[in-house]
């Protein structure tokens, strides 16, 4: 486990305290050739399996078996078609789409103001990040800048959300591997974090709190005490997790050396987030392509060494600590001022004005019925979600609805590593591997 210091950032982001972690293009080319040749991905249509037509398998002793979609370890409804020889996984193919509800299509039907209610339901474990990516893209198209306080509130809320999302990972990862007490601890701490999010946004999940132009409401009275209470409570609990899991021989046996991936493969597959960092490659958008005000806070990018399931677990655990460090800095530096932009084009007038002014009433009505118009153009903005790069691509035709809204879900792309991680592993390890990729199927299927 190594860390790279945010402040000692050199011009080369691949330089870590463990030496240069950069990639030569030819290494990646080798990885691409390997990926194409090795054939860890099962290329088989569902219809062929259903028809019981003779399937081309490696030899007579191998068989094809379905894991999921109702398997408890598949985090929702993911089905994996596995080609097995005995207990060894040869090839596999993730089959998705069970949660597909056409959210990108819905995004075209909703106005920009309503859009956040839609995207927030994609990654339901870290909803604020989708809202943030969507809002940043709309703001870029509108060419507006949100007030300082809104920026820092967004940072506070997304870091709290990162903590809750990683705590959820701790819980489910423990559950998948049979550490049931970890499941209870993880859910317990996550619930405490969600309680804070609920107090600020009104909802435990699917907040619709970060909106184009700022945030929906200012932080409530006493928010600082709530955050401080959480920040005092969580670190000792994390130490408990360390005692319970990190040093425990059974836990290490289950995770170390399981599901190994290297940097070149990650690059070729477009993998981001903790999976990429577990290979020792320090790439975090918060540090390397800072958005909001992440260039003004101090934190470390946590990287692994071996690229196995244990590194991914340890990275997420340590990232909770880094988030806590960021939250402390945000508490010290939270500026005063507006929590949303005072641009009449995008922001409805304050409630008090509606009683006094006819124009304000009309304006209020227009914003909520018609929505605000966004100039023609297209833009892509991305944020570092707990799972990797979460991007939003919007095409505007000048109306009040996006002409095309696309979310680049990190879970969707990261899921492609599964066949490569599972190749040659045991079926019991497959459970640990799915868990360590931490896919949220709402975001995969959208």
């Amino acid at each position: 486990m190594t860390t790279t210091d945010h402040l000692h950032q050199t011009e080369d982001p691949s330089l870590t305290s463990e030496g240069r972690q950069g990639l030569a293009s030819s290494d990646v080319n080798d990885a691409i050739a390997r990926l194409i040749e090795k054939g860890a991905v099962l290329r088989l249509a569902e219809a062929d399996v259903a028809d019981e037509t003779p399937v081309e398998v490696a030899d007579e002793e191998s068989m094809i078996i379905n894991m999921g979609p109702q398997h408890p370890s598949t985090h929702g409804v993911l089905r994996i078609m596995l080609e097995l020889r005995g207990e060894t996984v040869l090839r596999s193919k993730p089959i998705i789409g069970y949660l597909h509800t056409g959210m990108e299509w819905t995004g075209e039907e909703l106005s920009y103001l309503q859009g956040c209610t839609n995207v927030t339901r994609m990654d339901y474990a870290s909803p604020l990040f989708s809202e943030l990516a969507f809002s940043l893209t709309v703001e870029k198209l509108l060419d507006i800048e949100v007030p300082d306080r809104a920026i820092w509130i967004r940072m506070l809320m997304t870091e709290m959300n990162r903590i809750s999302s990683h705590l959820l990972f701790m819980a489910t990862n423990g559950m998948d591997l049979g550490a049931v007490s970890m499941m209870l601890y993880g859910w317990r701490e996550r619930e405490e974090t969600l309680r804070f999010l609920e107090k600020v946004t009104g909802l435990r999940m699917n907040h619709n709190y970060i909106r184009p132009g700022g945030v929906a409401a200012d932080l409530p009275d006493g928010w600082r005490d709530d955050v401080l209470r959480l920040m005092d409570m969580i670190p000792p609990r994390l130490d408990e997790y360390d005692t319970l899991l990190t040093g425990q021989p059974i836990w290490r046996e289950r995770l170390q050396g399981v599901g190994v991936i290297d940097t070149e493969t990650c690059m070729a597959l477009g993998t981001t987030g903790p999976i990429l960092r577990s290979t020792g490659y320090a790439w975090d958008l918060r540090r390397d392509m800072p958005y909001l005000a992440y260039d003004q806070v101090e934190f470390d990018v946590v990287v692994g060494t071996f690229g196995d399931c244990f590194d991914r677990y340890a990275i997420r655990l340590q990232e909770i600590r880094e988030s806590i460090r960021i939250v402390h800095q945000i508490l010290d530096r939270m500026p005063k001022g507006d929590y949303r932009i005072q641009d009449k084009k995008v922001t409805p007038p304050p409630r008090g004005r509606i009683d006094e002014s006819m124009e304000a009433l009309i304006h209020h009505f227009k914003i909520f019925t018609e929505g605000f118009k966004v100039p023609e153009g297209e833009a892509y903005c991305a944020v570092e979600s707990p799972r990797g790069e979460l991007g939003c691509y919007i095409v505007s035709d000048g109306s009040s609805h996006p002409y095309r809204m696309h979310i680049r879900g990190p879970s969707f792309v990261n899921l492609q590593t599964l066949p490569h991680l599972m190749h040659g592993a045991l079926i019991a390890d497959a459970v640990a591997i799915i868990s360590s990729v931490d896919p949220i199927l709402g975001e995969v299927d959208r």
């Binding site: 080369d12 691409i32 940043l136 198209l141 003004q296 892509y380 991007g391 035709d397 696309h406």
Partner: protein, 179 residues
């Protein structure tokens, strides 16, 4: 600690203030700026070669590949010499060394919606190309397993096309208005 003002976008690149008289080119291919983001407009024939060249330049990761259907919005702004077509395939590449993203917008005509696959350069486009095929019916030539990914395998039509009749399936609730 730097005192730079907070940024709203991650990949703001200093856009040249004065646009030179000669056309804006990246590797000899028409390019433009969109809200401080670099956009290149290769043709379908130029796509794979351009992605390979950019791969050697450090744009080693393909972040995203998505489609767009411009049926209702044909008059969009494109650089000179690029004829707008109905479909567009939008590829986002990232260079970690330079910390910058580049977006490629490929025009795809309705009459022949075929694009060469990027699978050979970026195997990570596997699922993304399947999604674009599923949603828009754009065929990626050379893709090893171009099947539907989100919709059921026997589904007819491509849901994100603008002329797809979204109310085609009767709602199974009592009293719902029939279309």
């Amino acid at each position: 600690m730097s005192d730079t003002s907070p940024t709203d976008g991650a990949d703001e690149v200093a856009e040249p203030t004065e646009h030179a008289a000669e056309p804006d080119l990246v590797h000899g291919i028409a390019a433009s700026w969109s809200h401080g983001q670099r956009v290149v407009h290769p043709s379908r024939a130029e796509l794979v070669a351009l992605v390979k060249t950019m791969h050697d330049d450090g744009y080693m990761m393909c972040l995203d590949l998505c489609g767009a259907d411009y049926l209702d919005h044909p008059g969009r702004t494109l650089p000179e010499g690029i004829a707008p077509e109905r479909f567009e395939v939008v590829v986002t590449l990232i260079s970690h060394r330079e910390a910058s993203r580049v977006r490629l917008r490929v025009q795809v005509p309705e009459s022949d919606p075929v694009v060469p696959s990027l699978f050979g350069v970026h195997p990570g486009t596997d699922a993304m190309e399947r999604e674009v095929f599923d949603m828009f019916g754009i065929v990626f030539e050379g893709h090893p397993d171009l099947t539907r990914i989100l919709m059921p395998e026997d589904w007819v039509g491509h849901p994100l096309r603008k002329d797809y009749d979204s109310g085609r399936i009767p709602v199974q609730f009592k009293g719902a208005p029939s279309r």
